[in-house]
Structures are given as structure tokens and as C-alpha cells.
Amino acid sequence: MDTVAHVMTPEQDSAQVKRIWKAFWVLLVLTILELALGLTIYFLEKGEPSAFGILSIKIVIIIFTIAKAFYIISIFMHLGDERRNMIMSIGIPALLFIWFIIAFLTEGNSIRYYRNTDAKTIKYEQQHIRHQPLNIPPGAENKYKVNH
């Protein structure tokens, strides 16, 4: 991209506008799919879903998010149209995130393990704590009122 105004033919112009709207629809559809999966998790968690099943849905949502990020950066921010060495000067430092995420989430997991086992001195069995307990008696749901 240079600083001088581009001279565009009407065909190039409408192709570019088409490309922008296509990216918009892709983003919209991906967001709707994410929402559908988010609501699926909500309804599944009313019962007793397998932890692996929930994790799989979450991984799919993360993949959709990365796809959205790719569309925003390459189409909306036009990074895909820049020179390769320019893309690399942005993209390679951003790869640090991979290490960053793996290292810190592992750290968090380790902290939990050490807390629960009192630094490995006691035995602890991981249990799943739910927001919504199972087998709620009728009427229990709305007994305590929320103040708006």
C-alpha cells in the first residue's frame, strides 16, 4: 500500500466491496455458530455432561474465534495484501503467544494441584463443583429474590 490514492477500475472497486461484505458474512455466521455452541453448553450443563464433551465444544469455539481473528486481520486490516516481510515482522513476534498461553495455563494448573494437595502432602481427589446442583426440589429455584 502506498500513500498515493489508488486508481481503481469499477470492476476492482466492486470486487473489493464484495470481498469486504463476504468477510462480514463469514464473521457473522461464525459468531452465530459460536453462540449456538455456547447455548448448547448451557443446556447440556443442566444435566450431567461428560467433561470431555464440554471441552470438545469449547475447543471448537476457540477454533472459530481464531478463524474470526484471521478474517479480521487479513481482510479488514488488509495485512494479507501487504508485503511478505512486513507480514512476518508482525506475525513472528505474535507467535510468542503460543508459548505464553501454554506456559501460564500449565502454571495455573500446577498451582491448583499444589493447593489441593497441600504441596503434595495430602491426597486429594478432584471433584467437579457445579453452579447449579442436580435434583433441585420444586420451588427451591426462586425462593430467594434478587434485588434489581
Partner: protein
């Protein structure tokens, strides 16, 4: 500059012009955004670390389940609206940049206007959401007593629910939730506010014909990069706080 693009690789780095074929300002905007992404990344990853280190985290589908004006359980609904607004404002921004390439002053003005409206709509939604969280109090079972807590940086009424005297009641949840939620969405909201101010300045300058006389609308492009980045960050905030 058009002819420079076909020069050899040796000529590319021999000085005198940008080897990246971008202006200084645009390149620096990219590097600023890269550094800003590390700031946001650090916040979100530290949130993830704390979340992974806890035995229990809040269930976002119960925290964010209201829609202004409707008294019904609507998980994800309001935040979806916010997300759609931000994606749409991103499209209007890229259309403004596109009109700028064509030197179409009226087109730039029109799409910038829509982008500003989108940004303001998003900020209003965030204000409504924050107000709702900060002013709605929930019954919480604390040491065998029922207390009423708002969702703040020091109180979290969204712990696991237990049965107490025949009713279902929340227990205190992890305090870190409020700090991370208000901190990160607030930092993002601050970026949106700055973006709206920059867009208003750009709109005024466009109306005054500053860019037209300069011969290019590169400033719109640079603000556009910033605005898309704000949208990009929201995609990840949306993921981390509302979806997983």
C-alpha cells in the same frame, strides 16, 4: 512508488524508501497494535492462569443472563448484540477506508458516521451491562447468614449454589472474577472510547477537506487499523468471558 514495487530484492533494502512499501505512520500503527495485543494478551492469560488455579469459577451463563427491558432468563443474548454491533462497525470502517482509496469524500464521511454510531452504541451497551452488574444484588449465603451482594471487584455472589432452608442460594465465588471482568472489559471499553474520539477527529478533518487536499486518506486507514484491532480484542474478550 508504483514503479518501486518491481525493483529487485537487493534494491529493496538499499535504502531511500520503505522496504515494507508502507508509510512510517502505518508501520508504527502496526507495531503499536502488536505491543497493545501483548498488553491485552497478558491480561487475558493472567485471567486464564487464575481460572486454571481455582477449583471453581463462575458460570457465565448465570452471571450474564439478562437483557435490558426483558425480565427473562436470556443467557448470551445481550453480549451477542454487543458483538454484532462491533462487527458491523468494523465493516462500516473498512468501507470508509475503501471510499478513501477512491478519494470519495462523501463516502468516507457517511461510513465514518456509521462507525462512530456503532462505537457509541457499543459503549452504551457496556454502560448498561456494568450498571446492571454493579447495582443488582443477589442473595448469598455467608457464614450461615443471607447477605445481599452486588457483583463488584471485591464481592462475587456467583459461587456454587446450595440448598438452604428449602431454597437454592448462591455462595461467595472467587473474588478475582470481578477484578478481571471489570478490568479487562474496562480496558477494552477505554480503547473503544479512544477510538470513537479519534474517529470524530477524523470525521471533522474529512469534512474540512484536510485529507482531500493532502491527496490521500491514509489517516482514515490508520484509524481503521486501530478500530479493527479493538474489534479483534473484543472477539477474544467475548471468547474468554462469555463463551468458555
Amino acid at each position: 512508488m508504483e514503479t518501486a514495487a518491481v525493483q529487485t530484492k537487493k534494491g529493496l533494502w538499499s535504502g531511500g524508501r520503505s522496504p515494507f512499501n508502507v508509510s512510517y505512520g502505518k508501520l508504527m500503527m502496526w507495531y503499536f497494535l502488536l505491543s497493545d495485543s501483548f498488553t491485552f494478551g497478558a491480561f487475558l492469560i493472567s485471567y486464564g492462569t487464575i481460572r486454571f488455579s481455582s477449583n471453581y469459577w463462575v458460570d457465565h451463563n448465570y452471571v450474564f443472563n439478562s437483557f435490558p427491558g426483558i425480565h427473562a432468563n436470556a443467557p448470551l443474548a445481550f453480549v451477542s448484540l454487543m458483538t454484532f454491533i462491533l462487527i458491523f462497525s468494523s465493516v462500516t470502517m473498512v468501507l470508509a477506508v475503501h471510499e478513501g482509496h477512491k478519494m470519495n469524500k462523501r463516502g468516507v464521511e457517511k461510513w465514518l458516521m456509521f462507525t462512530i454510531l456503532g462505537g457509541l452504541a457499543f459503549l452504551s451497551c457496556q454502560a448498561v451491562e456494568w450498571t446492571h452488574l454493579l447495582t443488582t444484588s443477589h442473595p448469598v449465603l455467608v457464614n450461615g447468614q443471607i447477605e445481599y451482594w452486588n457483583t463488584t471487584t471485591s464481592h462475587n455472589p456467583w459461587g456454587p449454589r446450595v440448598l438452604f432452608e428449602g431454597g437454592l442460594i448462591n455462595t461467595p465465588g472467587p473474588v478475582a472474577f470481578g477484578g478481571y471482568f471489570f478490568g479487562i472489559t474496562g480496558f477494552h471499553g477505554f480503547h473503544v472510547s479512544v477510538g470513537v474520539i479519534l474517529l470524530i477527529i477524523t470525521l471533522i478533518n474529512t469534512k474540512r477537506g484536510v485529507f482531500h487536499n493532502r491527496g490521500h486518506y491514509e489517516m482514515v486507514e490508520k484509524i481503521g487499523l486501530y478500530w479493527h484491532f479493538v474489534d479483534l480484542v473484543w472477539v477474544f474478550v467475548f471468547l474468554c468471558f462469555y463463551l468458555i
